[in-house]
Chain length 250, copies 2
Amino acid sequence: MALQQAPAILLHTPQLGENIGAAARVMLNFGLTDLRLVSPRDGWPSASAEAMSAGALGSGVEVSVFATLEAAIADLTFAVATTARPRGMEKPVMDAVGALEALRGHDGRCGVLFGGEKSGLPNEAVALCDAILTYPVNPGFASLNLAQAVGVFCHQWGAGEGLGGRFAGKDEGVGAPASREDVIGLFEHFESELERAGYFYPPEKTPVMINNLRNALIRAQWTQQEVQTFRGAIKALSLGRGKARVKPEA
Amino acid sequence: MALQQAPAILLHTPQLGENIGAAARVMLNFGLTDLRLVSPRDGWPSASAEAMSAGALGSGVEVSVFATLEAAIADLTFAVATTARPRGMEKPVMDAVGALEALRGHDGRCGVLFGGEKSGLPNEAVALCDAILTYPVNPGFASLNLAQAVGVFCHQWGAGEGLGGRFAGKDEGVGAPASREDVIGLFEHFESELERAGYFYPPEKTPVMINNLRNALIRAQWTQQEVQTFRGAIKALSLGRGKARVKPEA
C-alpha cells in the first residue's frame, strides 16, 4: 500500500479552542498534519488549543486560517463533507471505509470538512463538496463531539495507510511456540506427578481425565518458555509445601 | 447482522472527569451503554464528567464504579486490553476490526479496557485480558487522548452493528436519475442554443466541441429534476439579459 499525502482536515467555524487542539492531537496520532480553520470563533492562535493538542500544534500539525470556506478549499480537487443528517442533496454518501477508498482514489490534494460545534456544516458548505461522510451513529444520540468526529476519520486513514507497525499480530512474546514434543513432555510430566499424588481415581476414568486436562491446556498454545515455566511449577508442587528449590526464571 | 449486547467499556484509574464524560458521550453515540470505572482518581460522581457527557450520563450510559479491576471484570468472559506499546506478553494483538470480530464471536459478556491518562494500562491489568487492541498510530506521536481511544473503538462497534441507518448510500436527493432520453434532450437543447449564439466556430470543429461538452456534463449523472433545472438555465441565458421569465423551480 503506497503512502500518499494525507488529506487536509478542515474545521468550519469551530468554536472551542479545546476541540481544535484535540483535533490536532488525534490528527498527528494517525499521521495527518494539514489543519485548516475557517473563521474560528475565538480567533487564532488559541492557548486552550495549544494545551489540548499535547504538543501536536507546533511539532507536526500545521494550522492555516481562512476567512472563507472557498479560500480554504481552493487548492483541493476532492472534498468530503461530514454530517449526521441528510441534506436532500444528490451526493454519494459514504461511511468511513468508503470515504477512505474515495480519497485514496484521488491523486490531487483532498480534504475532509467538519462543521462547528453548534450546528454542524451549513448546506452551502456541503454543496461545495463532492461526497458526504457519515458515521453509524445512534439515531437517538447522534451528535459527536467535533474532535471525536475528526478522530474517527483519522483512525480510518491511519489504518488504511498501514501505520501501526509498532507491533502487530502478536505482542513481542517470551519466545517461540512450543513444539508438540515440548507440550507432550509437559503433559506426561504433569500426569506422572498427578498419578503419584493419587489424583486419578477411579482408575478406569484415567484416560478420560487425561484427555480433559490435555484439551484444556493445549488450547492456550503455549510457548517453549511457558512450557518450561509450568514444568517448574509442577515440580515445585510435587515436591510438597516448603520444599521447592527451583532456580528462578530467567 | 444480529445485534448483540455491546461490550462494556472499562476505564482503569481514569484521572479527568472531562475524559470520562467525553467517553460516555461517544459510547452513546455508537450505542454502548455499560461504562465501568476502576478507582477513578477524583471519585464519582463528577460534575466535569456530567458536563462533557452532553447528557449521555443519566440518559443512556450506566456507570458503575469498582475499587479493583478484578471486581470490574468479574462477570466478563472475554476482555480486550488497549495499548499503544508492546508488553512482551503472549497474547493475540488486534486492530479495531480484528477486536470487533473477536468480540462478536463471544456470546458472554465482553469488555474493552482502557488505561488512565498518565501511563495507560499496567502490565498486571493487561495480563488479565484475553487479547490486545492497538491502533495504527504514528510511532512519533502515539499517545491518544483517553476519550479518543474509546471513541475509535465505539465507532468500530457501531459500524459492525449496522447502525447509521439514518441515511446511507445516497442522500435523499431531489428525484430519480435522468434517463438517457432526458439527458440527450438537454444536450440537444443546449447545443441548439449554442449554435444560435454562434458558439461553434470554426464549423468543422462542431462535432469535437459537442463531444467535449457532452462528456463533461454526462459525468455528473444528473437527476430528472437537475436536467429540468439546467434546461431552465439554458433558456434564461438564451433569451438574453433581463429577458428571462421562466417559472420559479418547484
